[in-house]
């Protein structure tokens, strides 16, 4: 089902190296020929279009200003199956939600390059008058329609495509005036695909990164972004950051200079703040070490990415806290959810409501920082002590080449992602939440974390097991998957004095 890597790519052995101009040019022609709408992509025209966009609609610029002004921007997700529905959604998110960044989430057929199925989805959606697709079929609608969407809003627009096959979607989106694109080879391949190899995922994103760099060479800076939230299921910060570091080194190697890093919230104030700081510092460390001194890497937090409670009131608390956490952690932006999360894709109004809740929460927590607080500094240090050995080992396994190292490290289980659907990922690492609300590592699988670090994690989780009178083991991981989705009366009983 997944489209194979193109013949050309297969010709060169895998490496982190920048794709040579001529090869890339041939790859582009092949790629654009895969679906009729590809023909409308004209890079010169596209560069002109981006140049003419006001600065406040260029995401790369907006992210740079947000960081300079210490703002925390809001950005929802959202996509519907027909052009009209989707345009109305974007407008609502802009005007009623006051989103700082407006998204276009693609549907899952488009994500898997099943454009024929997407076409059927469009038709069914039109026939039934409701969206049958879980996103906007960007490729089917093509460049001209994309430009209409960009015109309809007064904010920068970002593509959210949850795919390891971004090549045609990316071409069309950039040509249409989208100035941001979320996705990366390691993160999405391990979290959104089953059969695709890590190698192919990396190759596909080398294409997209090289494409962004092509715009950069022409004077148009685009914003690329990495989805370190992974499977969204109790990802401890270090696991997210390891993929952030590797994916951003891969992007920088292709010439990307504006690269966002995303992490799902752990929902623990101190851990999230520590994670944002550690992520920023570690990525810059490794970038500089590899000779990329000029890559801008803003950090984004995402509202809780695991299972949500069905009660609107509880969901509202998670949304608001999600804004609080992002603001206090110093994240450059926060990606929002809605009170409908447990049920289905939200209506434009419910989606906008989630944005306003979050925005108000950000306002209320403005200017608060935890720097200097002991628990915060300790946690940040702990995260770094988890990330470094794994990244260093990966680089070592690739003889200094990130692409090779990543592929080999996943094979060996040195790199791993919890709850991954991908066959190339062992998914032996198991996280769980400790009694204080931190996400901890219950079982490291084959990942080379230092012994003393693992002792800290296990001690914390043993404490929880003891407190709740349950066995220390796999069940802790499973109950942690459900935890945040439980009714509040179960989480914090009001019958505690009986």
């Amino acid at each position: 089902m997944n489209a194979p890597a193109t013949a050309d790519l297969a010709r060169l052995p895998l490496t982190e190296q920048r794709l040579p101009d001529d090869l890339f040019s041939r790859m582009r022609s092949e790629n654009l020929a895969r679906w009729p709408t590809g023909a409308a992509v004209d890079i010169d025209e596209a560069v002109e279009l981006h140049r003419r966009l006001p600065r406040h609609k260029q995401l790369a610029q907006v992210m740079r200003h947000a960081v300079a002004e210490r703002r925390c921007l809001t950005q929802p997700r959202g996509g519907f199956g027909t052009f009209e529905m989707h345009r109305d959604l974007m407008v609502a998110l802009d005007r009623e939600g006051h989103a700082d960044v407006v998204p276009t989430t693609t549907d899952s057929y488009t994500r898997n390059e099943q454009w024929h199925l997407a076409q059927q989805g469009i038709e069914e959606s039109e026939r039934l008058g409701r969206s049958m697709l879980n996103g906007y079929p960007m490729v089917n609608y093509g460049v001209a329609r994309a430009r209409e969407l960009i015109d309809a809003v007064d904010k920068p627009a970002i593509m959210l495509t949850g795919t390891s096959m971004p090549k045609l979607t990316g071409e069309i989106a950039f040509a249409g005036g989208y100035s941001g694109y979320l996705g990366s080879g390691i993160a999405y391949t391990t979290s959104y695909t089953k059969e695709l190899s890590i190698e192919d995922g990396i190759r596909n994103y080398q294409y997209l990164n090289r494409l962004a760099a092509l715009y950069q060479e022409r004077g148009v800076e685009l914003h690329r972004r990495q989805p370190g939230f992974l499977t969204g299921t109790n990802i401890p910060p270090s696991i997210a950051i390891i993929t952030c570091v590797l994916d951003c080194l891969l992007a920088a190697a292709q010439g990307v200079r504006n690269y966002g890093l995303e992490m799902g919230e752990t929902l623990h104030l101190v851990q999230d703040a520590a994670a944002v700081a550690a992520c920023r510092e570690l990525c810059q460390d490794y970038l500089v070490r590899k000779g990329y001194g000029d890559v801008f890497t803003p950090v984004t937090l995402l509202h809780w990415m695991g299972a949500w409670p069905q009660d609107d009131a509880q969901a509202a608390a998670i949304i608001s806290y999600g804004g609080t956490l992002a603001a206090i952690s110093g994240a450059a932006s926060v990606t929002t959810k809605s009170t409908h999360e447990a049920f289905g894709i939200p209506t434009p109004q419910i989606n906008a409501e989630g944005l306003r809740m979050t925005r108000m929460a950000i306002y209320l927590a403005r200017k608060i920082r935890l720097d200097g607080m002991r628990e915060f500094e300790d946690e940040k240090e702990l995260i770094k002590r988890e990330v470094r050995p794994v990244v260093d080992k990966t680089l070592e396994m690739g003889d200094g080449d990130v692409a090779l190292g990543a592929v080999r490290a996943f094979e060996a289980g040195v790199l791993d992602v919890p709850w991954s659907p991908n066959r190339g990922c062992k998914s032996r690492i198991m996280p769980a939440r400790d009694a204080d609300g931190y996400l901890r590592i219950l079982d490291p699988g084959l990942m080379p974390f230092p012994k003393d670090v693992m002792e800290i994690h296990k001690a914390k989780l043993r404490q929880r097991a003891a407190q709740e009178g349950v066995a220390f083991g796999h069940e802790l991981a499973v109950s942690s998957v459900y935890e945040i989705a439980e009714p509040v009366a179960k989480l914090l009983s009001d019958r505690w004095m009986r």
Binding site: M1, G81, D107, S108, Y109, R111, N112, Q114, L117, Q120, G121, E124, R130, S131, M132, L133, N134, G162, S191, Y192, T193, K194, E195, T231, T233, A307, Q310, H340, A342, F343, G344, I345, P346, T347, W419, S420, P421, R423, V478, V481, A485
Partner: protein, 157 residues
């Protein structure tokens, strides 16, 4: 549980990557004594049927979370019948449609597609285990108690 061990096929249909609930469910079914053939995420409808035929399965449990299940599941029962799995037990569960829709209507849609039971968002494994136990028992002793459409119970979650 009744002997001989029942075989169940599980998987996430279509282009859907949501594996977590399906994996937890599969593990729980195994622990409860079922033989589970777990196809994982991103599984085409045809693969479910193939696996069910090959393993002579008693039931197929289809997960769909991402909203496009309504498209992916169309014709599933017909394909089963074509493959000779005339009255295999069919369950479906997850976030079956796009958006927050009235559950009773959603359930009706999937029952009409030929599923024996449909589980609403957030269903727990305990419920699924109860359903299976009840439905297999009923099949062994068809007259008492009569097979209630899965829906009626699912709605009460």
């Amino acid at each position: 549980m009744t002997d001989p061990r029942r075989t169940l096929v599980t998987g996430v249909i279509g282009s859907d990557t949501h594996i977590v609930g399906n994996r937890i469910l599969s593990m729980a079914l195994e622990k409860a004594g079922y033989k589970v053939v777990a196809l994982g995420a991103l599984t085409p409808a045809t693969d479910f049927i193939k696996a069910a035929v090959e393993t002579d399965a008693d039931a197929i449990l289809v997960s769909s979370l991402y909203g496009q299940g309504e498209l992916d599941c169309r014709g599933f029962r017909d394909m089963c019948v074509e493959a000779g799995l005339d009255d295999i037990l069919l369950y479906v569960g997850g976030n079956l449609v796009v958006g927050k829709q009235t559950w009773t209507e959603v359930e009706q849609r999937f029952l009409e597609m030929g599923f024996d039971r449909a589980a609403p968002p957030g269903a727990r494994v305990e419920t699924v285990l109860e359903w299976l136990a009840h439905d297999f028992a009923t099949r062994e002793n068809p007259p008492v108690p009569p097979l209630t459409k899965g829906g009626s119970k699912a709605g009460g979650l």
